[in-house]
Amino acid sequence: MAGASEQGVALTSKVISTESLTKLYGRVVGVKDLDLEVEEGEVFGFLGPNGAGKTTTIRLLMGLMRPSTGSARVMGLDAWKDSVAVKEKVGYLPGDAALYEKMTGEAHVKFVASFCRDASQVETAGYDLASLLELELERKVHGYSKGMKQKLAIVLALMKKPPLIIMDEPTNALDPLTQKVLYDILNERREEGATILFSSHNLPEVERIANRVGIVRKGTLVGTERIEDLRGMRLRNVEVIFEGDVPADLDLERVPGVSGVERLGNRLQLKLRGDINPLLKIVARYDVADFSVSHASLEDVFLEFYKLEPPGDLASAGNPVPPAEGGGDE
């Protein structure tokens, strides 16, 4: 699915829209004042660390939970009040999908297909998907590995060819080859006009398959950006190793776009946005042993763009995670 963002996507209408969507678990914030819009035909990556509110948002969109305040609309329908109609149009992959242990994969396919109007076609599509993912459907689920369970859950989510696909951490427990197959399937679905929203904390995955990304932290949507725009910011990680200690008179304040400067003995690390030449000119005045530049990850771009502190601070940030029975990765 590489290059999804480069391909033209016809954006016509909002498939998902939330307005001040808030879910509280008692005093604990699940999500707060979330305003999210996903257009038709988009592949939207919902990015954030564990406990950020991704799964809560997805469950609100699926009508599994009622918003405390605000609203969520899916394909023009109220996600809570019209949840049955919403589910007819959505293929849903839960995070850590659980299946009926005593049923076979085939029985699962038949069971889920039986809820569709064109059950036999959906069932056939399920078998085709299972074949693509190299999944044995004859075995009972209790004999499945975690990866096989995830494959079956993916089959169940995608087999009815829904116009909207919502997936919570879809590549959990999948090996790289199966991940590639899944990306290809999603790419095919997108080309057929499906809209896809998926959550992830795997940044390369988001970069690879999404054409727009939203980052959620502490229950709040920090921002949404197109992948190309983020890449266009040309944020780089720079590391310079000097022959001696980092010169004390090295004046980096005059260099535009420099941030996150760290001096460790003879090693200088920084982030640079924009033109690299002013930095090169200043550094060239000193004896340099090594100089390396790498393109910053999407996470770094996001953190830089929104001036956020790195993740991992959630536990101490006064944002207690939902109770244990909250499930998912949240």
Partner: protein, 269 residues
């Protein structure tokens, strides 16, 4: 009702239902095998029973000490206590798996991702439970009649009585099911669902027990389901006590209705 969910639930609960049915049949077969010996000791046992506290005999539904017929014997030995424990265990285990169990296992999310209204999910699973209850009660009654006729004596066998017992037994089970399903919806922890359901069933039983001994408690005994449970009377008279059946059904209806109401609003976390 959704037939797919009904079928899935029946399929899932088929094995435990068969185990319960085979278990009750085995127990009844054992009781039947003991019956000839019991009859021989009847005189001595009658004397012994006369010395039992009256309240205790009432509690177990023994109105007259007459176990000379197989019907009376089996009613006395089975329906006073053991059958209640078995049917309550069957129903509570079933209810535990309905919402709380599926939530705990995580499968509720898969079920609720399907385009089916919540109330249909619960009523479909409830219908499967009803099928299980009916099967168990029918097996009990058919077993009594079959074993009694084959190995004991069909003389004095109250066919009408056991036929009348069918709706009463089913309604008692449904009454227990009503509040157990409600607890399954309200409480996320399956163990707590079982404890609460067993606790309330025991409370009703003890309330009935205490009502036998205490006039004050007797005044509130109507509040519990066992006030309407008189298997000996039903089998002896051979007629369905309509009032008791309706009240037990009302217990079930209130429990199920509240369960549906709560499930419609429940957050699936």
């Amino acid at each position: 009702m959704n037939k797919n969910i009904f079928r899935k639930t029946v399929s899932e609960r088929l094995r435990p239902t068969v185990v319960y049915c085979v278990g009750i049949l085995a127990y009844m077969l054992m009781l039947t095998a003991v019956y000839p010996t019991y009859r021989k000791l009847l005189t001595a046992k009658s004397e012994l029973l006369k010395n039992y506290p009256k309240g205790l005999l009432q509690l177990f539904g023994v109105k007259s000490i007459n176990a000379s017929s197989f019907s009376n014997y089996i009613t006395l030995e089975l329906f006073g206590f053991i059958w209640i424990i078995i049917i309550a265990a069957f129903v509570i285990a079933f209810a535990r798996n309905m919402v709380s169990g599926e939530l705990h296992e995580g499968t509720l999310e898969l079920l609720m991702a399907q385009p089916v209204p919540r109330w249909k999910i619960l009523t479909s699973e409830g219908a499967a439970m009803l099928a299980g209850i009916v099967s168990f009660v029918v097996v009990t009654v058919v077993g009594i009649i079959a074993f009694g006729s084959a190995f004991a004596s069909s003389a004095g066998m109250s066919y009408a009585g056991f036929a009348a017992f069918l709706p009463v037994g089913i309604c008692l089970a449904l009454a227990i099911a009503g509040y157990s399903v409600l607890f399954s919806v309200l409480i996320d922890d399956p163990k707590l669902v079982v404890m609460t359901s067993v606790g309330l069933t025991l409370f009703f039983y003890v309330l009935h027990f205490a009502g036998v001994f205490s006039k004050i408690v007797n005044k509130v005994d109507w509040f519990g389901i066992f006030h309407y449970w008189d298997p000996m009377g039903v089998i002896e008279k051979g007629s369905v006590p309509l009032k008791s059946v309706l009240i037990l059904l009302a217990f079930a209806a209130v429990g199920f209705s509240l369960a549906i109401w709560a499930f419609q609003r429940k957050d699936i976390k």
